[in-house]
């Protein structure tokens, strides 16, 4: 660390509305356009430079994102596994140490509270990452169990290194034996004398890693990765949440709170969503011990599904922002677009939308009514949408071990 003062997250001046992350000194340097936003109260870059350059760093070279603000919880104690398995809908009893899995959890009514990942760190020690603050719910869920739940959002600094050359970059940065690391696996290694936990995980649908360190080593980690670019070996680019939003829609990942209302903040009945309704039915396992929402989900499963979050490709190139969706041109309204992006790599207009099903059946046709501006004049048009059951983007690289080197 040397002369760098340790940037202690959580101890920042109260007059500073947004909290700096442990990487802030570097993030600020890279952030040419100073386009900031708040992510869980952290000062986070939306874009550093241009959306296009950041997007293409993810898709064709190597991107680095500060993901420290991600909510992190350390789950330990004799009942840690029992606790997690009662929390989430998926059976995680088979999750081995140094493995990661994607999970979703619900309230008593079987409505989604959040999604996230569970990292089995050491035997019986887990980290749960979530989109939204979940400490209350975790504590409520811990009643009657011998488990310790500690929020460690501010105690763990993390970056996400994603893109086709991610492995090559990290090897060049000094990480050895990365090539055998399988998707959803974790390895613990030393870099220049400090500990780094690496997981082969990400939110991009491509090859990528997440690197976890003590906040005191955050800048050293950043410098090691960007040193690769400085030495002229590979292009490495810092990316913000704007570019991430594009690639996660391409990759078919959902974002609770954006793509659908989470149960915790839903006030009006019927506006929360079950895992089945957001396309996460595959994460629900009824053959495991009791989990919160199980009875409600069993009841729902036996009913025809009422609505679904679907992946749409929308014809044309007009952005279907907040578009209403119909079962035919000027027909019956059946839903709305929640998020959308232009996919530069697929040359496609993509969206995630909430669609009504009738008697459990998807509408035969979906049409978007799109409002767009032409030289500041509003125009309206209709675009037919096609449902995709597969992610729009999922490169074989994501799963290949060892990853191709460049």
């Amino acid at each position: 660390m040397g002369s760098q003062p340790r940037q202690q997250a959580g101890e920042h001046d109260f007059r500073q509305v947004l909290q700096p992350s442990p990487f802030h000194a570097r993030v600020e340097e890279h952030n040419l356009v100073k386009n900031w936003m708040s992510w869980n109260g952290y000062q986070t870059a939306r874009t550093y430079d241009t959306l296009a350059s950041e997007y293409f760093a993810i898709r064709s070279s190597c991107s680095v994102m500060d993901m420290t603000p991600m909510e992190k919880y350390r789950i330990t104690g004799p009942d840690a596994l029992k606790f997690l398995n009662r929390l989430v809908t998926r059976d995680i009893s088979g999750l081995k140490p140094n493995r990661v899995t994607y999970v979703v959890w619900c309230n008593d009514d079987g409505k989604v509270l959040d999604d996230g990942t569970i990292f089995h760190l050491n035997s019986g020690e887990y980290r749960l990452c979530s989109q939204h603050h979940q400490l209350d719910w975790l504590l409520i869920s811990s009643l009657g169990m011998d488990v310790t739940i500690e929020e460690e959002t501010h105690e763990v600094a993390a970056i996400s290194v994603q893109g086709p050359t991610a492995c090559s970059v990290l090897v060049a940065a000094g990480f050895t034996d990365l090539s055998e690391l399988k998707p959803f696996s974790i390895s613990h290694t030393l870099l220049n004398g400090f500990e780094v936990m690496i997981s082969r995980t990400g939110y991009t649908g491509d090859l990528g890693y997440e690197l976890w360190v003590d906040p005191g080593n955050a800048l050293a980690l950043w410098d090691a990765v960007f040193g690769v670019a400085q030495r002229g070996l590979y292009d490495v680019r810092a990316i913000g949440l704007g570019a991430l939003e594009m690639v996660r829609i391409e990759a078919g990942f959902i974002m609770p709170g954006d793509d659908f209302n989470t149960a915790e903040v839903t006030v009006r009945a019927g506006h929360d969503r079950s895992p089945f309704e957001v396309g996460l039915g595959w994460l629900v396992n009824f053959d495991k011990p009791h989990f919160t929402g199980k009875q409600a989900l069993l009841r729902e499963k036996n009913q025809p599904i009422k609505r679904r979050l679907v992946k749409l490709s929308v014809e044309g190139n007009k952005a279907p922002a907040d578009s209403f969706l119909y079962d035919s041109k000027k027909g019956r309204r059946i839903g709305t677009v929640k998020v959308h992006t232009w996919s530069p790599i697929l040359k496609a207009n993509l969206a995630t939308a909430d669609i009504e099903y009738r008697n459990g059946v998807a509408p035969a046709q979906i049409w978007a009514e799109i409002y767009y501006q032409k030289e500041l004049e509003w125009q309206a048009t209709w675009a037919q949408c096609t449902v995709s059951t597969e992610p729009f983007w999922s490169h074989p690289r994501r799963l290949t071990t060892p990853p191709e080197r460049y």
Binding site: K82, R86, L87, N107, D108, W137, I140, S141, L143, G144, M145, P289, H290, T292, G293, K294, Q295, A296, L298
Partner: protein, 521 residues
Amino acid sequence: MTSAIKGPVVIVGGGHNGLVCASYLAMAGRQVQILEARDTIGGGASTTSFAPGYSVSGLAHILHSLNPKVCKDLKLSSAGVSRGAAIDTIALDKGGQHLTLRANAVSGDGLSQSDIDAYTDFKEEFRRYARALEPLLMNKPPRLKDMDRKDKFTLAKLGWSLRFGLGASSMREFLRVGGINIYDVLNEVFDSPLLKGVIAVDAVMGNHMGPRTPTTVLTYLNRLWGESHCPQSIPPGGMGQVTKALAEVAGKAGVSIRTGTKVAQILVEEGRATGVQLESGERIDAGLVISNADAKTTFLDLVGAPQLDAMFAKRIHTTRTEGNVAKLHLAMSALPGIDGLSTEQLGQRLLIAPDMRYVEHAFNHAKYGEYSQQPVLEITIPSIADPSLAPAGHHVMSISASFAPYSLRAGWDKHHTVFADLIIALIEEYAPGFSAGIVARELLTPVDIETQYNITGGHWHHGEMTIDQSFMMRPVHGTAQYDTPISGLFLCGAAAHPGGGVTGVPGHNAAKRILAMGGGL
């Protein structure tokens, strides 16, 4: 859920409600077994010997709310249950100007004629309110969302009985007083501080409430509802005689009863109760498990939070179940002498609550985790009517003392003796010299009640009778109609609607509910 629930029935707990529920189910042809942790049946309604030769009712000592329908359905009178003679309530006055309260009349030297008249009118009007609530009390509380036909019927009957049973002006008055406190109501109606003090006791006893606590009118109505069809009495042989008779009825109907049998776990498979595991390790399979234990014991200890949805478990966990009443039993070589009371009058229900401020002050201590320095006392000397409870010439005194909070800040270990001494000293003020005759004593704090009677918090009602824990919220929503989130598991005790007291109503309602759900096949 409406499909037939087959297989033998196991009832966890042999309190009076477990016995009532068991009898109804057995009479409907079900095979029922009661498993009771204690060595005797009856739970809070039992008779215990606290010193060689001296017996009293363990917790409940006055029968004031036993439901007539239950008595009739179970033919309790032919089972030889004796309620004992109806008794008065006597409000003790240090100066000897005691008041005698009956269902419809009050008398006493110090009373004004206007108080005497007002009492009769007041009781009549309030009993009418209480009776108007009857449709709600004798049925499963209606669910407000997804009502079934029975729920709609109950609400319709309730509306009918309120609107037409009461008439427009009474209805208006009922709506006015229903949500306020007994303190304001009694101040509007009466002058005598002592009269107001003892009526207020009926509104707060057993709960964490003082006369100024909102909704104490409702708790008072609950008490009156019982009184409106069950004159208060002290059963000969103690409350245990009542439950003994109930056990006989149950036995005749085919119920088998095992005492000294503590259930350690309610077994749940695939969200369904399949039986119980005893502390001894023995497993008993069942098609239906019914719990007479309180809700925290049932869900958090016996089922276990991990078997339940998180928020439901949390709701159960946060219900208020800390008891506030201690029980003091005294063995005495002679009857106390209270100035102005005959021996016969000593055998009535004696109350020490000189005025409402006194009661409120007594409660204030409880708010801060202290016991009352001047507690409210309900005293009975059951050996006057039934000499068999004590050796010849000797007597037993049974005292419910409010307020004695479960979570005593200073800890009960150090204050057990102090509190018992304080109660005795208070009685001594009314009955000078009586303490010299005490030969043995036993104090049960709510902590003792919890351990000896297996009631969480030692709470009179298995949980506060506040509006947020009543009706369709009792014990919590999600299990307010006797069924629970675990299919095949039901509640039948005081934790369920309409709450505690020796009434038999939760047991009756639970049995009806189970049978209506097809459990009688």
